[in-house]
Symmetry: D2
């Protein structure tokens, strides 16, 4: 049985190790890809800290992965119905079954009962390679495959496989933006910046951003934010609310999108106008205290997960909106397989926002 190199987490908060991991046999319709680029996001840090309920050791981190098909077991097509071939550069969804209650009756395949996420799966049993920080990645049956157009660099395509596809899902659930509506984004990490870009692209009248540090807000302004507020310089919640009201003729934004952390929810609910829509994307757990009044007269839309069309929309967005948004500015540091835990540590300390790992260089 062939093997390949992988960065493996064997203990929470511990340095990852380079191990040799078996390359499994392919089930019918499964694929094997050679990893081109794996980007990391906040969830990878949570996993590394052992805070996700599904954590198990040892595992290969990374759920944002672009790769090139190097092996197939039987004919397989991408989600447009086009046949796939070895050599195609792709991203992949998590598997979903298409036949459970959520996939069928509820019409919510994002909650498929038989799905699981990459980047946190035991790597000492088949199919071993379900994380991006390895030379190869197994793509099991039941995943939707999206081809990456030539004009989209692999690290960006990888980031589309988590942050941007979640934003696409969020906007789908949000429904249409009208030309008179103002959107406020809480947060200016990759998720927040993508939210800004998509709000711009879908015709919001104005997009406001609250976040930090200023270097990220500078990117936000370059991407078309009408106004930004530096959280580090405006620590008073009421002052931030006043700022938002000042930019919306005293009413509050029609839509607020939380791309920071669940801790930002109470502030966001106070800022969005009565009858407005509050989209909450950023993670975090624990309890949140909000006013009954804010809950009574707003709509809150919680988002998590995504399905194939959101991946496709994400890649399409990257391919067609490059002239409007300098996407490459999103990627921060570059790492090899040896540097995975350093990258995670740098993220934990807010020194990195979107590092990329190149496992084959």
């Amino acid at each position: 049985m062939a093997e390949c190199r992988a960065a493996v987490v064997t203990g929470f908060n511990q340095p990852s190790e380079i191990r040799s991991v078996p390359i499994p046999e392919l089930e019918p319709t499964a694929l094997l890809m050679r990893v081109d680029a794996a980007t990391l996001c906040g969830t990878d840090v949570h996993c590394w800290h052992g805070r996700m309920s599904s954590d198990s050791l040892p595992y290969i981190p990374g759920h944002e992965t672009t790769g090139v098909i190097v092996d197939m077991n039987g004919a397989r097509s991408d989600l447009l119905g086009e046949p796939l071939n070895e050599g195609d550069r792709i991203i992949s969804t998590y598997p979903h079954c298409g036949h459970c209650y959520y996939c069928t009756v509820a019409g919510e395949p994002t909650r498929c009962s038989n799905s699981y996420a990459f980047g946190r799966v035991l790597c000492d049993q088949p199919p071993y390679l379900l994380g991006g920080c390895a030379e190869y990645h197994y793509v099991p049956p039941g995943c939707d495959i999206v081809r990456v157009p030539a004009e989209v660099p692999s690290p960006l395509a990888a980031s589309a496989a988590c942050s941007l596809r979640t934003i696409m899902h969020g906007f789908e659930r949000l429904g249409p933006l009208a030309t008179h509506e103002t959107v406020l984004v809480q947060g200016c990490g990759p998720v927040g910046l993508y939210a800004l870009a998509v709000a711009r692209d879908r015709g919001a009248r104005k997009v406001l951003v609250i976040g930090a540090p200023d270097s990220r807000l500078q990117v936000a302004r370059e991407w078309g934010a009408d106004a930004t507020l530096n959280l580090d310089e405006h620590s008073d919640v009421n002052a931030r609310r006043e700022w938002a009201l000042d930019h919306t003729e005293g009413r509050g934004p029609d839509v607020v999108i939380q791309c920071a952390t669940a801790a930002a929810i109470p502030e966001g609910l106070e800022i969005v106008r009565p009858r407005g829509r509050y989209l909450t994307i950023g993670g975090g757990d624990g309890n949140i205290t909000v006013s009954a009044n804010a809950l009574r007269d707003r709509q809150i839309i919680g988002v998590g997960g995504s399905v194939g069309r959101h991946f496709y929309q994400a890649v399409t967005f990257l391919a067609t909106r490059q002239k409007d948004f300098a996407f490459e500015g999103l990627i921060s540091g570059v790492y090899s397989l040896d540097g995975v835990s350093q990258a995670l540590q740098a993220m934990a300390e807010f020194r990195e926002v979107k590092p990329v790992v190149f496992p084959n260089t």
Copy 2:
């Protein structure tokens, strides 16, 4: 200037007094109606306790009012465009302007900036008569008028002017129910029972009700609840959640409707299934603590206010669904003008749920 008798609140928590109040001149397109029946709801108790931000003394309580037109200043039509005449029995919305940001741009006339509620307006200045607990009620310009069909008794029509029209608004914002969906209602007061009836009428697969006391749950079962849980007998939140899961194949209800008090929101959010819809209607203020996780993966729809079509739908529902639901069971005690504060006190002590005041008998 002619005068009429009214029950007037002159001090919070104090007995109401019978006063003689002027009958105002009618502005163009205004109406005067002789009150047939005025029902009271929880909000009237809150006002009497001085807990509503807009409270002012003295005022005439009552915002659920059926009356007969006795005077008009100029031609006026109901909301179907049919001319109104003296002698018509009607209910009326609050005024709305039709030309403010919420009426026009936002498409949310329920938040009209120029509206105000009846039953809590100063009665020592024109137009004096803006509460139901008086012999006459002034209907200012800008109100939508709904005729009451002969088959709907005045007390029920009055209740439609608040509880049921709010439920109609809530279901409008909820969107369609599918035939496979289960609805759980929190609360079995008039609002909860109306929610149950409308959920039944709109084709929910099952409707579950949690509330108390058992006499109200008995009504719920007679109105078609598939299962009910007595809150007095099941004080453990987890047990209640298990009960709901047991009735929904372990998934949780697709829709939960809060018709109790804001304090029930955390429990409701834990009960509704992932990706489900939570409609919150019942009042109350203060802060609510919910889990970030519940907010992340649900949709919360806060409802307040209503516009003409909701009133029309409410009256239509009462007129056409009598064979399915014994609506008259909703009305509890009967009072004259002299008994208004007794009725409010009885509600505060949960001895009454929907008292009716007959000011002209």
Copy 3:
């Protein structure tokens, strides 16, 4: 290789023949069911007449089939995620792939590029048994399986697998009905009667039915139609339109559902009120001439196909609404395998509306 008896169409408009057809090997996750009941619908007549583009000879008619699982190749669950077992009584969707453009990107699995209908597939090549008029029916991989509750008779469950699931799909695309809305149904065959029942069940204010003959309209009235018009007795289109206006205060119905034939579309578009919704379900081809004016100010929603949740909703409806609608009145004559072409001929001559074939009796 085992064989079974089947009614086979070997020439369009020709009598069907009883042939012995192979029972195929089961692909992984495929099922074999013994047919309990197969109902026939208008499409089966069209196929028999050779008017469907996909017709091919020889084939086994019947796409509305209830059966009992008698063989399985590997574990398989129903669309609720519950494991299936031999002996379970089921209906099945057509196969869909879950991975093509329509299944994934468009979010319209009803148009799955890799689906095909039962009841019109060549039966002289594997898997042979893809029509209901045979002792056994093959259920290929990729079908959603719905269990039939004990309280639903097999012939009704079979009819749910086409007429009623299409109605469920239609109402899904129609969106919510409001309590003030009136629905008019064109047609009172099984599809029209199911449309009436669902409109009633979802809270329409009134449901009107135009159709013939009177015996069917009698069923419509028993199922709660507020008014019916006999097409045979009112041949003037304008008179029919006037009748509809008379029942809707001169405005026209808010929703019209075409459950007759495409030839009824122009009349229906003239009847639905301005800004109303026109749902067109009934089949037929050729050209239709409509006024530009009617197209300009209405919404037309064309419906075809269905997916698993519509089947599940259909079966749920039959199981839970028996007390409201005497569904068994839908089924007309009873036939054995020998009588399949007689049944088709009787339908073509309008002597039957919903015959049922019992292949194993």
Copy 4:
């Protein structure tokens, strides 16, 4: 009684005459504006030809009008609730009542039973001045008023009062565009170009345009059309359909918007993909022949009329999207009041697309 100059149509197809028309007394809340710019559209030509059902002589043409408030009768605010003052530059909706069936129950104020259009009203009786081709324009009670920002020239604001606000209404009814969706626009007059611009602005993946002549398609390309097809050079309907399929991977556009004439509907329905959405805006009457098949599997959304928020969205779009679209290219020739019928004749002969009349210069 003061009078002013107006271009008056006294006979269909006849030259307009300059007449002196009374300036009426203002009803309470009415306004008088001095006309800054009046643009003309195809409907004005239809009126001039006597082909609109509501035509009456004599009348002042023009329903796209920007003016400056010169007189008011009582306090009045714009649709944002901001007080209006003399000197404010504005556009106005047609009047609507806010209290009829369509305004209230149906939630479709665009069909207000008590509304009427400007530019085709008798001008020999009060309030005389209800068309744009006059020195002054009366704005009756019940109109929503939108302020024109300084950065929007009066002729463009005038065009927003018909073409662009209709497009805004159309996109509202269309619902959201997803990032993967392709829009095809039939027509490249002002309505078609605005449709292209809004589709671009709302994030369509691609926008295709079919129209003529090439000078207009050149504008379309400058505004971001991904591909255009010259109708004059491709007279074969099948070839045009093939072109659309070629640009959509063989599926057809997800959305087609008819901005030409009702005669284009059959072609558009054949081009839009199965399950796609067809938005029909362009006028014309008579009968249309379409295939039953196309009607069965598409959604057709007919659009007409608009309300205040669409006007506000239109003006907002012009004010904020100037850097993306060179709107001024829409306006063609300039005329004085004396040239109104020449402008109409030039439009009838396709020599003009969007002429502007300056009545006060």
